[in-house]
Symmetry: C2
Subunit: 342 residues, 2 copies
């Protein structure tokens, strides 16, 4: 018997993918292997993505309000559709609930789900509700579409492409550190009031109620820019850059000074003795997008405050590095959650 | 605070449905309220259904082989598509796994999933894998399609329609009783070998590895019969007949002697002191379909061994009754699992 930890989630998905039969329906364009499955719907490609969130693994209800959790669950799924350069149409939400949840808790959760549906213009069309033995489980499936000539995969980036990221990185991770610290304070003395100063609200909001970047999908269309490749980086910039490079057969040089990091993230990183670069590379949960464009296309994006060029792709798949101002290069690794603290 | 049990699953779904905004996309034909959501895909309607299965709630791994569980999870979703008179195209499977599961267990689960995909001609196109704190969680979403002129809803049945069911009923419930009894014997003495005689295999197979009735969808098309309404009865014939009647505004008379019950079901029911009629009405998990046809259409189905006429619809919504040979009528209620034993 082989322990799951020896192959990891990526290894498990690869094992499932390899054992999966080739599609039999002509409509199935792409199965396992990108942010969403792809279907031929005539003029458009249809997209389907699904995610599962489990209490105690993905969220802690001692500090996550159910309304925000509902919003975040939808964000989770919509972000996968955005990463294919698509826009969402419909979604289903299934929930497993233990008996400790009253009806009002379900109302609160769905208030957030409905708010997200309105924000992303997606129709809630179904789901399943069931009892659970331990806590809350949420499964979200999102259907979307993208015009055929605009779809973006992970494996189609090319050497010399400019590597871009949306928004800023690392804030959600520092928001989590703040919330975890407040939880410990509260557990030690339940009469203590949380001490989340005004200047921290951005970090906490990025952790609790992140937005998927459907705005960027609209903007790219308006600007007439089609990325050569795109991927959701909610699992962290480093690991997703590695996926994109490995699947495209390219290397990458990322400049640490270019990584977009908010001032609040810098401040909190210093307080927690965490490198802001490490938080930006490996923190994850920012629900931003990583995409690549041909160098000649980049000028159309150059003055956009929501998009930052962080490096470029190379023809050498063995070279995926972080470069400092002084020119020192270190390999980028998918660190994940262990080894984050310095 | 209101306990979830005071409103039940049906009440909860209705509460969510009422609070859900009207769809904004023209493609969304139907959201919450039938076996699957319905989308306008041009010549066809698209269908999307999602289900969640949780260890300890929906299955007991002490006697459910993982391969059969994988098969059954796909059956669960495909049955919802069949109930719309549709055929499945693609599905996603998300799993939450606690650390007690080795890699080989996942292989076994997916072996069953792949066998079901082959049996139903559906492409496995994605999913999510995650850690779980307690046991196995499976979420299945299935996309399907149906020609627009063939779709069957729950709320379009008419008085005088013939009520039909596919296959036979109650076998899966008796199979569960057999497995639960063997489990108790095993728990009392782990050296005891299971004693499931040959003649019981049908009941156990109906519980462990049920098939969705995509064959009936093909058959109805071949015969040129479009049901006036159709619903999946894996939650039990009684409760689903009530849904169909309430949503269609009809009553129904069901003849107890017409209910299709296998000889093995009769034998086991007698042994467990359970009424076979009760098992057929309320046992559930048979993954059969209930449908209604116009009386003049029924003759096309009359000689089909896989389809049984069990009654007819009336214009009186207050009259949903079981009728004995002697003409005695008793109201049909959605008993669910409590009160099954006599």
């Amino acid at each position: 018997m082989t322990d799951l930890n020896t192959i990891g989630e990526i290894g498990l998905i690869e094992r499932i993918r390899q054992a999966t039969a080739a599609p039999t329906h002509a409509e199935t364009v792409l199965g396992i292997g990108d942010d969403a499955a792809v279907f031929d719907w005539g003029d458009d490609y249809g997209l389907l993505s699904t995610d599962m969130l489990i209490e105690g693994i993905h969220f802690d209800l001692t500090y996550v309000p159910l309304k925000h959790l509902g919003y975040k669950a939808v964000t989770f799924g919509v972000s996968d559709i955005a990463a294919m350069n698509g826009l969402p149409l419909q979604l289903t939400v299934s929930i497993g609930l233990s008996s400790r949840f009253p009806v009002e808790a379900v109302d609160e959760l769905y208030e957030g789900i409905r708010a997200a549906c309105a924000a992303y213009n997606v129709d809630l069309v179904g789901g399943d509700t069931t009892a659970s033995r331990s806590g809350l489980i949420i499964s979200v499936s999102v259907l979307g579409k993208v015009p055929k000539d605009l779809i973006t995969y992970r494996n189609t980036a090319q050497p010399n492409d400019v590597v871009c990221v949306t928004g800023d990185l690392g804030a959600a991770y520092l928001g989590l550190q703040l919330l975890e610290r407040e939880k410990q304070v509260f557990l030690a003395d339940p009469n203590m009031q949380p001490n989340l100063a005004e200047e921290r609200t951005y970090l906490v909001q990025r952790q609790l109620r992140p937005d998927a970047r459907t705005d960027i999908v609209h903007e790219l269309r308006d600007l007439g820019v089609r990325p050569t490749a795109m991927i959701d980086i909610s699992d962290g910039l480093a690991s997703e850059l590695l996926h994109l490079c490995h699947q495209s057969g390219t290397g990458a040089v990322i400049f640490d000074e270019n990584l977009p990091i908010d001032d609040q993230t810098h401040l909190a990183a210093s307080e927690f003795n965490i490198s802001p670069i490490t938080a930006a590379l490996n923190g994850g949960e920012d629900y931003e997008l990583l995409f690549t464009v041909r160098p000649q296309e980049f000028e159309k994006l150059a003055n956009n405050a929501r998009i930052t060029a962080v490096g470029y792709l190379t023809a050498n798949p063995a070279q995926i590095v972080l470069s400092t101002k002084a020119g020192q290069q270190t390999p980028i690794r998918a660190q994940g959650w262990s080894g984050m603290e310095e």
